[in-house]
Symmetry: C2
Subunit: 589 residues, 2 copies
């Protein structure tokens, strides 16, 4: 009946593959859904908030007697009536704000108490699947349409006392331990939709420019950075493994005293670097150095104790009996593997998870992160800079155009400058300066004292980067040609013999979001760089092969997705933009 | 100069972000590049094959004397001339077939020996970056244009004796150990481009239908299948870990004799199932069962030995001191985690790596695989079937339209029926039959003896599936409602109490490519299913929460990408379609 009256604009009964209409089909229309008034639809979602309106008595007695003081008998009758009402609760209408995650606004749904018990449908978080008629809102307000429920098709109840989202306006941090419910909040749902758009835009950019998506191995024995803590992947500890797969350690033989002396110094260095918490690469290198030294000492001590008759168990695993017959890790970066694909297929990218077993308290990094790695054949440093530049502008443009509603919500609730920042990223030309020039400029800054010293050879800290971008240039800055000590072994040595062909793209309020480089294609140079850094050549034989046979110049870059989501939403901590707690070390899923 | 003569159809000098024109821009044109003749371009790539043409003497002596028998003196002169020629080699032209991975055909490039030493440019695998003029082919053949080299901008040499692709027509299997060079072959490059198109089409399908891409955790403590071998992820074995992070095992206390009796029987069962090598789920369950029992016995034996005075080291790791403070694994499937996102955002998908630590010799499965997981809220079994059906048709259509050249190459070299198969997948309506009906139909097959018995309660083997699809229906078949014993704990129990709401999509010559299900949304049913299977509830608390608070009906499915690539290329083994050897247990990168 209703559908006869309705303007037949679109058949709104069901969306594809789901037994309801997605709310964005109704509420995302230019008219806010008004054109669908009169249509019968099924909607599903979760109750965001609710209120109950008691119905007025439908038929007041005609010519009601004037109010009067009850006599004793009359009062008793009234009590009885009240008891009857209490048994059959007073008719009411539950007004639910229902959201299904497809768009920012909720749909107002009116449920008569005869249809469903208000105690059941009203709690925040209740799942409802409701058939009803779209109508003009009964109360004028921010809604253009509301749904008059006619049939309850499914109810998923909530135990309000235990449901973590029952309270209103929870701070985002408090939701980190219930990441499986978190996207039910308006804020996190908006962030997830922006997250999705950035993922989709990333693929679109590279596909549009003729790049091929290729996979890189997640489990690998190649360490592409050399200074990151890694997760070991093994089946040796599985239940049922036999004891003979574990072989005893061979201890190294060096003097303890000779080493202990240096530990104090190394510890001091780590402490110093930790305090500034900015020069990350240097800190990691120092930490690893210290760790190795500590390890050596404890091995030696164990040996001495063993000699003195105390049995110390120092065991090592026989990785030749592991699944891959050698020690394997979760990949830290896909760049090296991508290079082998680029040296066959041309321009390639890979978008997937990368891992670092680091518990550094950082708001920008995660143990498990999604990264876009890009590699291009016949390409040099400035090509990679151009590509990174265009890529960033493209994805910012895409979400500005495609996520209007979500960005407006973000603007209202989280960050007033979000639109402006994205717009500015698109329109400004990124400044390009060499590392040496950056240092020079920062040293000349008068009237500003930086926490850590500015000198050639050390990484720019977040404070330095921020000053360059936010104060001096007031736009994104690309810093290139870093000292070789600060970058991994595979980057191309410049002609000065001191700097390497690398670049960082630094964004306002965000810091370095992209790190790129041109790879070393000259076998001899690469080989001696590896020697210099003490890397085990045999681990990299396949990579060296690329220089041995048909070596090409290649360049590329990596971008971590989650900091980009921060940039696009104004949130401050990556822990709030990943769907699962595992990524930041929590243990609940 | 040349560019003045050329029809200015497009500026072909460089492609974006790379110092050359991609060959598909020249050779992928409808005219095969003819319209660009006369233009100066830079191209880069790797030499596929080559030949050398010695130049005719440019100016033959006018009125050459008639050939005559050499006298002794003249012969000596000739020898000297030969020596001179040997010192300054005879002028020649190297004709190179150069490929850059952007398209199937190679570009014919003519390099004068004055420009580059033939010994350097001619070996297969040599990397060249060459500037030259596009011209009409000097020899008519399959080329429409060729490049006359004018400048060699880069040469990446090859040591032919060590380069694994020097030989022609290498069988694909022989390339598995040099996966870093493999995509330089025409076949693997085509497969990689189809692989890329399938990835891109997958995102396109779900984005077009309003699904959000969300991430699932790769490192997880939740086991979503319950019967797969998993990779453990840990930092406990890293160098530098201290010994006190390892705590001694507590042995269980049960009678050895009581258990040993059952081992014989269990072993027999595994052997039986291994022989048929078809009922995978049952085999895995039986293997795990046996393993657990074996483990128990060895623990008990260790205990007895310990009691008898022999020190046995049985150690267990204290995972509370591990990175995530508990035991964590690489995820086997993303479905459970996706469900928590679907119960907030509606329809979601996740496309990423999944892991199984199984060394089963299979041509369809890998230790590291890429999977598309899909989950939809307010959706039941048939919705997921509809979606899987449409998704498969969509991706087949996309590559039929977008990878014409690659498919034609595949058709010529690998599989004559590839186009036909894809076309048929798009046009045929998938048959849907229940598991019970499938069993019934197969039992009624006369004149065909199956290797393994057909009876209710056991999985369909590849042989059964193939018979259904290739012989009976001659089109894709969806088998649904399997016995609950064959499927994971989280699938929805049907009203009969025996079968569950699951489905497998079985394709011709490929077998089951997609597995889907509706999830159990009823807390009590789910809870008792978990009890029945002996699952530890505490590991799944967060998942049970979804049923406790606002539970919705959801359904979805998973598809492994690599078998889909096999389906689209006619290759037989997934080891040949993944870019890296790690995925199938090799150790070379």
């Amino acid at each position: 009946m209703a559908s006869e009256q309705a303007p037949v604009e679109m058949p709104a009964t069901f969306s594809k593959y789901t037994k309801r209409v997605m709310l964005k089909i109704i509420l995302g229309r230019d008219d806010g859904g008004v054109g669908l008034i009169g249509q019968s639809v099924v909607i599903g979602g979760w109750v965001k908030s609710s209120m109950e309106i008691r119905k007025q008595p439908v038929t007041p007695p005609p010519a009601a007697p004037a109010p009067q003081v009850f006599g004793a008998g009359e009062y008793r009758v009234r009590e009885k009536l009240d008891a009857v009402i209490r048994k059959a609760p007073q008719p009411s209408i539950s007004i639910l704000q229902v959201s299904d995650g497809s768009c920012v606004p909720s749909l107002q749904v009116l449920v008569n108490s005869a249809l469903a018990n208000p105690c059941q449908v009203m709690p925040t978080g209740t799942c409802v699947l409701i058939e009803g008629i779209l109508q003009q809102p009964s109360v004028q307000g921010k809604h253009y349409v509301e749904l008059q429920a006619e049939k309850i098709l499914h109810l998923g109840l909530v135990d309000e006392s235990k449901y973590p989202l029952s309270k209103k306006r929870l701070p985002l941090e408090s939701l980190r331990d219930c990441s499986h419910f978190r996207p039910r909040t308006t804020t996190v749902a908006s962030v997830m939709r922006i997250h999705n758009s950035l993922t989709w835009a990333t693929h679109a950019f590279f596909q549009d420019h003729g790049f091929l998506h290729v996979q890189v191995p997640i489990i690998t024995s190649t360490d592409s950075e050399g200074f990151s803590e890694k997760f070991l992947v093994t089946t040796l500890l599985s239940k049922g493994k036999k004891d003979d797969q574990i072989s005893p350690t061979e201890n190294a033989g060096v003097s303890v005293e000779a080493i202990r002396a240096s530990i104090k110094e190394k510890t001091k260095k780590v402490e110093e670097l930790s305090r500034t918490n900015s020069n990350k690469e240097a800190l990691l290198a120092a930490q690893q150095d210290l760790m190795k030294t500590n390890e050596l000492v404890s091995q030696l001590e164990a040996r001495q104790k063993a000699k003195s008759g105390v049995t110390i168990e120092t065991r090592k695993f026989d990785f030749s009996k592991d699944f891959f017959t050698r020690q394997t890790y979760l990949t830290v970066s896909g760049r090296l593997h991508l290079e082998s694909q680029a040296c066959a297929l041309g321009n390639v990218y890979s978008f997937g998870p990368r891992f670092k077993a680091e518990k550094l308290e950082s708001k920008k990094s995660l143990a498990e992160t999604w990264m876009v790695d890009v590699e291009m054949a016949f390409s040099e440093l400035e090509d990679a800079m151009d590509c990174a530049n265009d890529f960033l502008k493209f994805v910012c443009k895409r979400i500005l155009e495609g996520c209007v509603e979500d960005l407006q919500f973000v603007l209202k609730r989280i960050d007033k400058s979000v639109m402006e920042r994205l717009q500015f990223t698109i329109s400004s030309s990124f400044e390009r300066i060499s590392y040496a020039k950056a240092i020079e400029i920062l040293r000349q800054v008068a009237g500003k004292k930086f926490q850590s010293k500015i000198e050639l050879g050390v990484s720019l800290t977040e404070e330095h980067e921020s000053y360059l971008v936010d104060e001096i240039y007031k736009k994104p800055v690309i810093v290139y040609n870093h000292p070789k000590e600060l970058k991994p072994f595979y980057v191309r040595l410049n002609d000065d013999g001191k700097t390497v062909a690398t670049f960082d793209v630094i964004l306002p309020k965000m810091g370095a979001l992209i790190r790129g480089s041109q790879s070393e294609e000259r076998f001899n140079v690469l080989s001696s760089r590896m020697k210099e850094l003490g890397l085990q050549k045999q681990q990299y034989e396949w990579y060296l092969d690329l220089c041995r046979h048909g070596s090409a110049k290649t360049s590329g870059f990596s971008l971590m997705l989650e900091p980009l989501v921060l940039y696009a939403t104004g949130l401050n901590d990556v822990k709030d933009v990943v769907p699962f707690a595992r990524s930041f070390g929590r243990a609940n899923n």
